[in-house]
């Protein structure tokens, strides 16, 4: 089968998953429970995506843990996203040099 057909089907499916709820859901949700649920979802999603995956993200648990600790400390101090993200990378990289 043509790769272009695969790509079109893949892209179409992915787009509709995003566009249907985002485009056509116009009402404000009145259910208080549902509003609370949707408020908490982002934090829940990001947390589940990060832990424990972050510990495997560099291919070496030691460098990943050093990077994670760096990120946690800087994030706790309310540093900007880019500073936290790049400092985690830099410390993971530097740790890797000494292993």
């Amino acid at each position: 089968m043509s790769i272009m057909i695969y790509i079109a089907v893949m892209a179409g499916t992915t787009y509709l998953i995003r566009a249907i709820p985002f485009g056509f859901f116009r009402k404000k949700i009145t259910s208080k429970f549902l509003r609370n649920f949707l408020y908490y979802i982002p934090y829940a999603v990001l947390s589940a995506m990060t832990i424990p995956a972050i510990f495997y993200s560099t291919g070496n648990m030691t460098t990943a843990i050093v990077g994670t600790i760096t990120a946690v400390i800087l994030a706790y101090c309310n540093m900007p996203l880019i500073v936290v993200a790049l400092s985690a990378t830099l410390t993971a990289f530097l740790t890797g040099l000494f292993l």
Binding site: I17, R18, S47, T63, V84
Partner: protein, 231 residues
């Protein structure tokens, strides 16, 4: 003022773009190894803008799977975007008309969602466009470079870059978790469930794991920590 929104979106999108650059670099390498051309790999990144879904999609293509399988795989892995889209739809500025919504929905990814959800004021179209523009640029460029240049970067650099996006996620969830106990609760429960899934049910796909953990912990938080609506 309007131009400012676009620039603000772009600046908030820079860490996302940098993270994407490194992650999609890896995707480019994988796609070419699976038999795709540099252009096909880049086209997939431009039209899909999602990491796990693309990796799984390339697997389907490489194994000559059916289109039905392709649709099912994308639905399973990417259905979390529907939840995110629904969540964001509640916080849009009134200037977000239907065509603008349909345009911006293209760019709802985990990271863009995360940053947008962290904004206090209602989301404006130009703000989202700016963020999506720079993030897509990083995603497609990284794919192209990875597919084209393969393994030019030393392994020590590419492996360290694997942590970029996760570092950014921590920067998004930790400050509010520090301020609000309810968010600390949801973050902790979700993380514990995720660890549990990873080691007790290792065959569960990453996409499914995230959906299960997030839904359970958000239901618990909504039950035990109901918030008074400010809006």
């Amino acid at each position: 003022m309007r131009k400012n929104d676009f620039l603000k979106g772009m600046s908030h999108g820079i860490p996302i773009a940098l993270g994407y650059l490194s992650v999609s670099f890896g995707f480019g390498i994988t796609a070419v190894k699976a038999g795709l051309s540099v252009w096909e790999a880049s086209l997939i990144s431009l039209t899909n803008l999602t990491s796990a879904g693309q990796a799984a999609g390339v697997d389907v293509i490489a194994s000559n799977g059916t289109l039905f399988e392709m649709i099912l795989v994308q639905l399973t892995i990417n259905i979390r975007y529907a939840l995110m889209a629904l969540s964001l739809s509640q916080r849009l500025h009134t200037s977000f008309t239907l065509p603008k919504r349909l345009l911006a929905s293209y760019g709802i990814t985990d990271e863009i969602f995360g940053v947008c959800a962290g904004q206090e004021s209602p989301l404006k179209p130009l703000y989202m466009y700016g963020m999506i523009f720079i993030a897509t640029l990083g995603w497609v460029m990284g794919t192209f470079l990875g597919a084209y240049a393969g393994e030019l970067l030393p392994a020590s650099v590419t492996s360290a870059l694997g942590i970029v996006l996760y570092g950014m996620f921590l920067a998004i969830i930790i400050p509010p978790a520090r301020k609000e106990r309810s968010i600390l609760f949801v973050v902790a429960v979700s993380a514990i469930l995720s660890i549990f899934c990873k080691y007790i049910f290792p065959s569960l796909s990453g996409g499914f794991t995230v959906i299960i953990c997030a839904v359970i912990s958000a239901i618990l938080a909504a039950t035990f920590f109901p918030r008074e609506d400010e809006a």
